[in-house]
Symmetry: D2
Subunit: 385 residues, 4 copies
């Protein structure tokens, strides 16, 4: 990417984060209701800290940090960058205020714009690009964390009544056939990718048929009505324990009110739309549903090869592939090397993108990953037979 | 109390709660860092809910509640009043906003002032008086919960730089001797008291000598320096477990910085003042300190009888009395009966009052109570030999 | 006590512990199903360790310990005697075998008998006497721990079919009236007592009436059938949490089989005898039952004064007194000082004795104590009005 | 397999389980020190229950079960076979006694021998064969669980002084090169395999070099001495949390005594042999060690293809492959279908076999699996570059 175009990208991405937060009240920026949900204030500050720490501090001589305490407060998981607030304590840090965090953003944005006036080398440009993709990842988390905070409030407050984050429907039906053979997967070509999409390599696929459409609420309600949550034969052993320990009876955000299923959406509490694409289910639920259908989930390689023929992007789609390094994967030197590699264990890969994914932040080779019980993301199911 | 004087009292008490919160930022109203600390916003709403639920709903015909959801959100522990937000979830409820809670207060205050124009019967006046004492109890909790929220922020923000909540020193020394005999304790006479201060009854006391002064930081530092936290012989068995499980090394809010003891106060982080009265210690620490001194803590009856000769009010003083009903104690009918009686187990009585206690909210017969490990209140030690 | 009579006492007490264990299979000696239940093997070894550590090691020159590892394995809670097996790990120590523990007992008994041939001073005799009372306390724990181990086995094995540990019925009815006044409580006179029964002191009692009989199963079933476990107004707040967290529906060891209440007894599973004295209830249940009856539990002072007129000894009777030191209580020097004093917090006093208490191990002044949720002892209810 | 040869196999396998237990004391059969370790008594009974439940009950008309309670007590994880003892409670079930469990074995063995006199169909023979392989799996667990029970006893008792389960050394050195290409993996041919080894399928492997030898203690001590357990950059994120939460400093069973590393072996406590093959490490430790060496662990496909050129069988070797179904995997109907499939999540594959694996219970296609933190099996490391 060139310096000029990256400046535009920088300002556009940075503005988009604040756009997401525009409908919030000051109080909404604060809490961390569960450890995996971060306060919106924290996302805004942390994505800024990334630019300050990895770009400004390194490239501007005698750069004055905005506030020396912020490194402690807004480092996420980079052990190489020092001590940090315990992840579980983020919701208790009422100061700096939201206002101060916006001032922090302004300060860093001004310095970044100054910097982007000058000619930067490729290494610097790469790091800035990484910072933007990093912020886009946090934009999706901002949306899903806001949904979690508001959606677990007994008042079910509306985030925005006109947004497009509610439903999504399938436009295609039927199955795509893929023949057996050796295929190449992983990122190739120009442009940005994360390190976990490399190296491009060969895989052998056996023939399979993959659905063009994602599972919709109507189908999932059939699963529920047929006793899906009560039949242990459909579940992985850890999934069955999870169902019982948490008395799971439905996807996240679903509530049965006067005998009818409702769900919380960012536009408020609504009746479940039977034609809308199913969302907010765990890997365990995806796996049990597939078992019930007599089908299975795709592997990530199958998904990637088939994706040119698929209609995707509404939900992150659980695959039956564990998140592990590709052949030839190597992590970068220094703190940035902590970005992906150290999480390559005990998580499952999700492919595609969701209605909450930021514009221009999706690729056929993109590898998202979550633990098998997590479901506060816009997750869905695609079947293979 | 008469209706006119109760109206003055009402407005003065209600205003004082808001006065306590005046220095806060909006964000400070939100979090609940640990289950026993409630969000300031919650205190403001809950004390208002008390008047709406027990007074306005009962006395005003066709009273329109401000918001029907608030009963669910701001009931504390009254099972008789229905379902309520889980105590541990109070910090995640970002809506209603702080502004809306202030509007709630205004609404209820207006209705209460209207009501107080009319002639009210004794039962109603008693309940309003209870509501005011209830709000004063929450005022002390507001102060200590704000201290907890700000004092556990790595930035140690200042609440108010000119307040008087920091230190307190003793003005008297020496011991008072009390002769053996039968004494009367418990509330008697006119005016308000809580149900747990009744009935007034006789106790037999053996002779004892009680210190006129409270333990100061200097003395406690001597205990620490002599290995007090390492010597199991000084501790109750559960206290020793508590010390080890939590690696307790000092009172709450104390930090050793460059070899010197500091503590967080509402005026910010300061060097420990050796002459100031010790604060923020658990019953376990009070008991171990007394053991180290070769003395003991007073019983609550001893304290009450001796108190006319004591200089008290700076700290809640741990006694060696368990919080149990007095002879003849009976709880009120209905929800108000849940006020005190159901907590009479596994807690210890504290007597006196503290620098955070609201004006006119202390009595020689007042029985405060906390669990043996709790120390976020302004708690201190008085010795008996 | 004289040396000759103490030798008889020694051999009789020691034999009785082994008599209790006679019906056990080797396997029954091993497990610790919950932290508060110790393996029978451990009780046999620990009570022996007490004599070896506090008597033989001190009084016999060049005494050779039976096995130097045993101090680590069989110390219970004496910090002054060094490191020990974690309390929660006692059930995993399969070696030394039961046979080896019996050999340990034989070795110590032989040495003790030799020692008891010689003239011993008063301090030594006192310690031996303490050791015997200590072993008697463990005899009651042996019985209740065996009951716990066998009673939580899905097969409900029989311990002994002809024992007398099953039921107990009241022989008297009605209430005793005690007039108001100053009374003396605590141990006085000759013979042994534990340090917690001292010093004898005055208390002021208000008049009260105390039941001559203990609550029977029939009455408790009425409480259960009337919704006692569902009505929060009857319960202390911590009791209500305990009921809900543990879904408590009946006393310990009760099982509803085909609509009829059964309980596990040491003679096996039996139908609940409605006339038998209620057993195995927590303080919380005792308190809720009393509340339901419109009465209350006695204080320990009331119990002690009234006891000359009562029929007692079948159950440990929960009092509404916290376990705290008497005026003038002081703990002994050294390790023996850890015997009682350090447990004087967050427990309630029980008075009387039970069907599992060893012969000659009860006194009107005896202060037993357990936490409010514990119910594996033979605990019961006596009411006061 | 034919009926005659299967009878021989049956008796030989069944006898071997009892041979493993021969050195135990009765007490050793009882405890379950942690949930993943089962009591030896339970293994002996459960493997017998398998034959009774799946063979005798189905094939012998009017078969009288040995004890109807045993189904509840000795079912492991087969939901289709009904309720069972909670996994965590196995150590508290002192009855049936060990003697009774041996009688149970005798009874089932007699019935099985009778049955094996008759002509059985293929389905029956297959199930019996599965039962034998199942028992062999429990034989390895018997060895490792006995090691856990004795090895966590502070006395470090000896299991057998002459056994061969201690060390193991490498006999080869250097690396094997495998060229890139399409390979077939999974079970093929005659004989027994578990369902998880099917279906045989093609994989694409990139070229790699794999070590002929396993990592030895000396190498691992170098890793430890170089600060391996302190350098977060070597660890997976969950591994680093595991190290810190459990203060892991060395492989399981290692103890530093007077500055020298010892380990518990089934022959007792010994000095660590530097040349012996490393054992008892978690996947996290294997991964960190490989990272430190600048190499990686093999995938299970790489291992299987290379294995013809490797010297294996001393340790279960952690691979970097998640335990997931092969293409075409399908689980059997009924309870036996719970054997493997439901565990295919959040575990890693181990290949090879160990010194504790029963004779004739290993195959190049065998897929063992454990969670990433588990290390009470004989686990080791083979490196790939």
């Amino acid at each position: 990417m060139k310096t000029t175009s990256i400046r535009e990208a920088y300002n556009s991405v940075r503005k988009y984060s604040e756009h997401i937060c525009a409908p919030l009240e000051t109080e909404d920026y604060v809490p961390q209701p569960v450890p995996f949900v971060s306060p919106p204030k924290w996302h805004l500050a942390h994505s800024t800290w990334f630019f300050e720490t990895f770009i400004l501090k390194n490239l501007i001589e005698n750069y004055q940090v905005f506030d020396p305490d912020f490194n402690y407060l807004f480092n996420s998981y980079y052990n190489n960058v020092g001590e940090r607030t315990l992840r579980t304590d983020r919701g208790n840090v009422t100061r700096p205020t939201t206002k101060a965090v916006y001032a922090y953003r302004q300060h860093v944005d001004a310095c970044m714009n100054d910097l982007l006036e000058s000619e930067l080398d490729d290494a610097a440009l790469s790091l800035i690009e990484l910072g933007l993709h990093h912020e886009q990842q946090h934009q999706e988390l901002l949306v899903t964390d806001i949904k979690y905070i508001l959606g677990h409030n007994p008042l079910f407050p509306v985030y925005k009544s006109d947004h497009n984050l509610v439903d999504g429907t399938n436009t295609e039906t039927g199955f795509v056939k893929i023949p057996e053979g050796v295929y190449d997967i992983g990122f190739a070509g120009e442009g940005f990718c994360f390190d976990n999409e490399l190296g491009r390599h060969k895989v052998y696929l056996h023939d399979f048929e993959i659905s063009k459409s994602l599972v919709i609420n109507k189908e999932y309600i059939e699963f529920m009505n047929s006793g899906g949550y009560q039949n242990f034969n459909l579940w992985l052993d850890e999934g069955w324990s999870w169902v019982n320990a948490n008395t799971v009876q439905s996807p996240m955000y679903w509530h049965k009110i006067n005998g009818e299923w409702h769900y919380y959406t960012l536009a408020g509490l609504q009746k479940v739309n039977p034609k809308a694409i199913l969302s907010h289910i765990s890997f365990f639920e995806a796996s049990a549903f597939a078992q019930w259908k007599g089908m299975r989930l795709p592997t990530e390689a199958e998904w990637e090869i088939a994706s040119v023929n698929l209609d995707w992007g509404a939900r992150w789609e659980w695959t039956n592939s564990a998140y592990l390094p590709y052949p030839g994967f190597s992590k970068a030197e220094g703190a940035v090397g902590e970005y992906n590699g150290k999480f390559m264990i005990n998580q499952m890969v999700l492919r595609g993108a969701s209605v909450a994914t930021s514009p221009e932040h999706s690729r056929r080779t993109y590898r998202n990953f979550f633990h098998t019980h997590e479901r506060w993301q816009y997750t869905g199911i695609r079947l293979v037979k």
